[in-house]
């Protein structure tokens, strides 16, 4: 009994002592509960706000806008890529060219062409650029410096052609270009180091160096190539100012009339070729040219120039074989002498033993002297020539060539001349 009383007394005393502390805790708990409730409300508000913002952002960017943004992004990436590729292409705009020097002996001696040259000489310095402006714009500019027979250096804007490539099948050029007849004229032209031989066939030489064909045209040129069942097919279609035979330094030669003409005479031509898939390195072609050519005589002679021809080229297995043929059927438009037929051609073959390439060429031109087109031209005389040569490649870009030629110059009457020439040439490309 005593123990029970004591315990009860102690419990009462504890309650009396602990009463104020319990009251404080309850107040703190209520305060905490209130804070927690406010925090929960705040969290709910923030969650709702975030949800509203997310919904708002999605609603503000409808599908069309998103697609536009994606497309814009793709364009930017594409432009970045195009910019990089364009930069690489533009970095390729280098000054390229050819140069050659040499020495020679010519036994030529006749009243028409005089005595041949002997000694050392400077050939050509030919510079060209091919700026790549964008994906489809093409440009080709060529400047040639050469020493004329009077010893002065002449500068010629050989080519100034700007083009646009629609596809592999069609590139349109405008300006002054190498007339795309046959093969040699566009493949080598002033690139002495490119051609195996030292000399060009004379009838295909430049207008002021013995050529009888308009090597340059100022006009427009459509060119292209496409795969065909039998191989690769290519073509050239061109038209421009008709050339004119004019007197320059006492010689009548063809002028491409780069400034335009006062009349409406035009040149037009084509070239079509096939590279058969069955024979690697072979190209076969047909070409034609038509023009109205006038000379600068007091009573000008006018001729309807009509030329057709064919060629074959084989460049593989160490061989290089070239052959071209030109047939003329020119009609006298001013003198009434009718139709005159002439022909010219050459065949050349070379075989490369490592760096050494011996070669041989036969060329011939039978030109009707009643045809004012040939008669008016200083170099429009028939001839035959045989050529033997040796090319030694000091480097893939430098060649040393030795050439011996025997020429039978005709159409000079009693002064027909047969003579030998020996020449050496050192040529480079860069």
């Amino acid at each position: 009994m005593n123990i029970t009383r004591q315990s009860a007394c102690l419990g009462l005393a504890g309650i009396l002592l602990a009463g104020p502390a319990l009251a404080d805790d309850a107040a703190r708990i209520r305060e905490l509960e209130k804070k927690l409730e406010r925090s929960m409300q705040r969290i709910d508000e923030l969650s709702a706000k975030v949800q509203r913002l997310e919904q708002g952002a999605t609603a503000a960017a409808p599908a069309a806008d998103q697609e536009a943004r994606v497309e814009a992004l793709e364009r930017r990436v594409g432009q970045l890529g195009d910019g990089i590729s364009r930069r690489v292409l533009e970095d390729n705009t280098l000054l390229r060219g050819f140069a050659d020097v040499g020495a020679g002996y010519s036994g030529e001696n006749n009243p028409s062409f005089g005595r041949g040259r002997k000694g050392f000489g400077v050939g050509n310095l030919d510079l060209y650029l091919t700026p790549q402006i964008g994906e489809r714009v093409r440009s080709l500019v060529e400047l040639n410096f050469e020493v004329g027979e009077d010893g002065h250096t002449d500068a010629d804007l050989e080519r100034a052609q700007l083009g646009y490539a629609f596809s592999d099948a069609a590139t349109v050029w405008l300006g002054r270009f190498h007339t795309p007849y046959g093969y040699w004229n566009t493949a080598y032209h002033h690139g002495a180091q490119l051609q195996t031989s030292l000399s060009r066939p004379r009838f295909l030489d430049f207008e002021d160096r013995g050529g009888i064909l308009p090597a340059h045209t100022v006009g427009t040129w459509l060119s292209g190539s496409v795969p065909a069942a039998a191989g690769q097919f290519g073509y050239d279609l061109y038209g421009g100012n008709a050339q004119r035979i004019e007197t320059d330094a006492g010689r009548r030669t063809l002028n491409p009339m780069a400034w335009g003409r006062r009349d409406s005479a035009y040149t037009a031509g084509f070239n079509a070729w096939l590279e058969p898939g069955a024979v690697d390195g072979l190209r076969l072609g047909l070409h034609g040219l038509r023009s109205t050519i006038e000379d600068d005589a007091a009573a000008p002679n006018r001729t309807r120039l009509a030329m057709v021809g064919g060629y074959g080229v084989y460049q593989a297995n160490h061989w290089e074989v070239l052959a071209e043929y030109f047939q003329f059927g020119n009609r006298d438009l001013s003198g009434g002498s009718g139709l005159h037929r002439s022909r010219a051609g050459y065949a050349q073959a070379g075989y490369a033993w490592g760096a050494v390439t011996p070669y041989a060429r036969l060329e011939s031109a039978r030109l009707d002297q009643r045809d004012s087109y040939f008669l008016s031209q200083y170099y429009g005389r028939s001839y035959r020539r045989g050529v033997l040569g040796l090319r030694y490649d000091l480097d893939p870009r430098a060649a040393l060539k030795f050439e011996f030629a025997n020429t039978d110059q005709r159409d000079l009457g009693a002064a027909n001349d047969r003579y030998n020439e020996a020449r050496i040439q050192y040529s480079i490309r860069f």
Partner: protein, 129 residues
């Protein structure tokens, strides 16, 4: 023992063969047939549909590629492009110096086509040679 030697020799030969392999790769925008690669690298094919092709040479493995795919030695290849540039105003392919440079260029350049000597992974492989 003999079998093991044979196996090792065969493995080594296979490894050498794998090293000699090359891959012609192209940007995803390029869709060309394997037999067109030679035409592209000799300048006869410059477009794939409306897309202008941008061939790029790889100086690190150029000789192997030219021999196996273009079937030319480097001198003739350069001569072909010199004639192409001289006649048609077409610039030759730029030359990059490593597989990585070619892969980076091809990946980021629409119309690009190049070749590498190592496995290009997920790149658009046109031809394995």
């Amino acid at each position: 023992m003999a079998i093991r030697k044979t196996f090792l020799a065969a493995s080594a030969f296979a490894a050498l063969g794998a090293q000699a392999d090359g891959y012609v790769i192209a940007h995803l925008t390029v869709n060309v047939a394997p037999e067109e690669v030679r035409q592209i690298f000799t300048g006869n094919m410059q477009f794939s549909g409306a897309r202008r092709l941008v061939p790029v040479d790889n100086g690190a493995v150029q000789g192997d590629f030219l021999y196996k795919v273009v079937r030319m030695d480097p001198d003739r290849y350069n001569a072909v492009w010199t004639r192409k540039a001289f006649r048609e105003g077409v610039a030759p392919p730029p030359v990059l110096l490593s597989d990585q440079e070619v892969m980076d260029f091809v990946r980021r350049t629409p119309g690009a086509i190049g070749y590498v000597g190592t496995n290009p992974g997920s790149a658009n492989v046109i031809l394995k040679y």
